[in-house]
């Protein structure tokens, strides 16, 4: 992967000036490259990685294994896109193995997610079955540890 993308994936808030320093480049060149990535759709957006466990909000998240009947034209794509369009659905992947689609779904409570699955997802033509697993606690998300990291115990000056 391009070094600029690696740095942005690590910290999307880094300023173009600092990115240019790290990459031995110029601020203008970095800005132009980022604009290119945004235009071509390589970069789809910038989000904060939030540890929702620490917030006093009602939020439950579930992963749902979905088995579907592939269609003659387009395979899994049409159904996957249909599933993706629901605002309750955070992410969707096509999977190898014993099921076809994996969806991450959020809701305010267990009942809301259960309702979404039984009323909205399971009733779509072509969806054969679903299996819902609720997430209990986040330890690591997008490469970021959600638990307290150990403090820097190195000596302040060493040879």
């Amino acid at each position: 992967m391009d070094e600029l993308l690696k740095l942005l994936r690590a910290n999307a808030l880094e300023s173009p000036k600092n990115l240019a320093r790290m990459l031995n480049s110029t601020e203008e060149a970095v800005k132009a490259k980022i604009a290119d990535y945004e235009r071509s759709g390589v970069i789809r957006g910038y989000q904060a990685i939030v540890n929702t466990d620490q917030l006093d909000v009602d939020l439950v998240r579930a992963v749902i294994e979905i088995k579907v009947t592939p269609e003659r034209e387009g395979g899994f794509n049409r159904l996957a896109e249909r599933v993706s369009k629901f605002v309750e659905v955070e992410s969707v992947w096509l999977m190898s193995g014993t099921y076809d689609l994996l969806a991450v779904v959020t809701g305010r409570n267990l009942k809301e997610v259960a309702f979404f699955v039984s009323e909205k997802l399971a009733t779509i033509d072509g969806i054969l079955s679903t299996a819902t697993h609720f997430m209990l606690k986040t330890y690591k998300n997008n490469g970021v540890l959600m638990t307290e990291e150990q403090p820097d115990e190195r000596l302040k000056v060493s040879p």
Partner: protein, 409 residues
């Protein structure tokens, strides 16, 4: 420690060994001539302060990669709590032999030419003790790691520094060595990439140095501890130059490239006669390196993924700090290795020690004065960028502010 004083006390170049007089008469006389490390003095001063941004740390800021730690934990779980053979676990020596062939194109026999040690520090001590007769001279380039000079003297050798300069990127060339060689010169100690300058050597320089060693029948000891942190160009070890292996002791370890400083694991590779001589000392003084560290090292050598990832991260930070310091008007060459920059701060009428003390006092940024790395380090500051990028950003701002104030007078 000076916690009660408001101003840090100045660093003494050679503080006498303290203690009651009667006990002092038992201490070997030659130790009194060897000063305490300037880094240790500075450490005492920095430790007494709060909220310091430290660019003074000479070790990786990564925790050892998890799979390596996990291998050590598994070994402990399975009861690996014993001695190993004096030379170290054969599986580790075989892995090292494969790694050295892959990375440096040098071939060492794991049965007879590789010795696992407690850090490169032990390996270097073994090498010095194995080769030096009292009065033998050892050439080494300066500025350099603080231990080289004392380690030569502990083995009753005579250290002969060869000064490298900023003007040519702290390179070492044959011509510079020819000026210092004498009939008593027994060995040449190389350490590239260099702590504190970050300098590396080009192949032509290494070939010139190899020709020098052959012409004067000198042994070369090469400390390759930072070699994984070489940013541009090929990694060349002098041991790989044809005809050099027979006159080279190759030292390496896991502290820097794999972020394993606390495991204290290194190794020495040398032709069998030299290896046996070092082994003789090692078996009596150390017996063997800790088994848990050896188990971790076996795992560490299984892939290059960790070292490559860490190198990329250091490289970004190196580029950042060099650009930042130069923009702030602190001239800083771009070093090709290790994780240090060595900016020049000699234009303000301050010694590097005073510069570092005032920087600490006024801006709470800790850097190590260049003079801690030999007299030729005077006028420079060692800044380690093996620390969090956010801390580096803030340090660069503060250093820029500090020199702007100095310029105004």
């Amino acid at each position: 420690m000076n916690g009660s004083k408001s101003r840090p006390e100045p660093i003494e170049e050679s503080r006498p060994v303290t203690g009651s007089k009667p006990a002092r008469r038992f201490v070997a006389g030659y130790l009194n001539d060897i000063p305490r490390s300037g880094i240790r003095d500075f450490f005492d001063i920095v430790s007494a302060r709060k909220d310091v941004i430290s660019l003074g740390i000479g070790e990786p800021d990564f925790v050892t990669p998890w799979h390596i730690r996990e291998a050590s934990i598994t070994a402990l779980d399975r009861g690996a709590t014993t001695y190993t053979s004096n030379r170290g676990l054969i599986e580790l020596r075989r892995q090292i032999a494969r790694y050295l062939w892959r990375a440096f194109n040098v071939a060492y026999d794991p049965e007879t030419e590789i010795l696992i040690t407690v850090g490169v520090s032990e390996a270097l001590d073994l090498a010095m003790r194995a080769i030096l007769e009292p009065g033998d001279e050892v050439l080494y380039h300066e500025p350099c790691f603080v231990s080289y000079n004392p380690e030569i003297r502990f083995a009753h050798g005579v250290p002969v520094p060869v000064v490298t300069r900023r003007e040519n990127g702290f390179r070492l060339t044959r011509a510079m060595l020819e000026e210092k060689v004498s009939p008593r010169t027994k060995a040449l100690l190389l350490s590239f990439p260099t702590n504190p300058t970050g300098a590396t050597l080009a192949r032509e320089d290494i070939e010139g140095i190899a020709a020098f060693a052959k012409a004067h029948d000198i042994l070369v000891i090469t400390d390759e501890i930072y070699s994984e942190l070489t940013y541009q160009g090929e990694r060349v070890s002098i041991a790989s130059v044809p005809g050099m292996k027979e006159r080279t002791i190759f030292l390496h370890g896991f502290s820097k490239g794999w972020a394993m400083t606390g495991f204290r694991l290194g190794y020495a590779c040398a032709p069998v006669e030299l290896s046996e001589a070092m082994m003789k000392i090692h078996q009596y003084i150390m017996m063997c390196a800790p088994i848990l560290s050896q188990k971790a090292a076996i795992e560490a050598l299984k892939s290059d993924f960790d070292t490559n990832e860490m190198r990329a991260s250091y490289e970004h930070r190196r580029n950042f700090i060099c650009a930042g310091l130069n923009e702030a008007g602190i001239p800083c060459h771009v070093p090709n290795g290790a994780f240090y920059v060595f900016p020049y701060v000699g234009d303000y009428g301050l010694t590097s020690k005073d510069f570092a003390l005032r920087l600490l006092d006024e801006e709470n940024v800790a850097c190590v004065p260049g003079s801690a790395f030999g007299a030729s380090g005077e006028g420079f500051l060692r800044c380690s960028y093996s620390t969090d990028l956010e801390a580096i950003k803030e340090a660069v701002v503060r250093m820029g502010r500090f020199v702007a104030r100095l310029r105004k007078g």
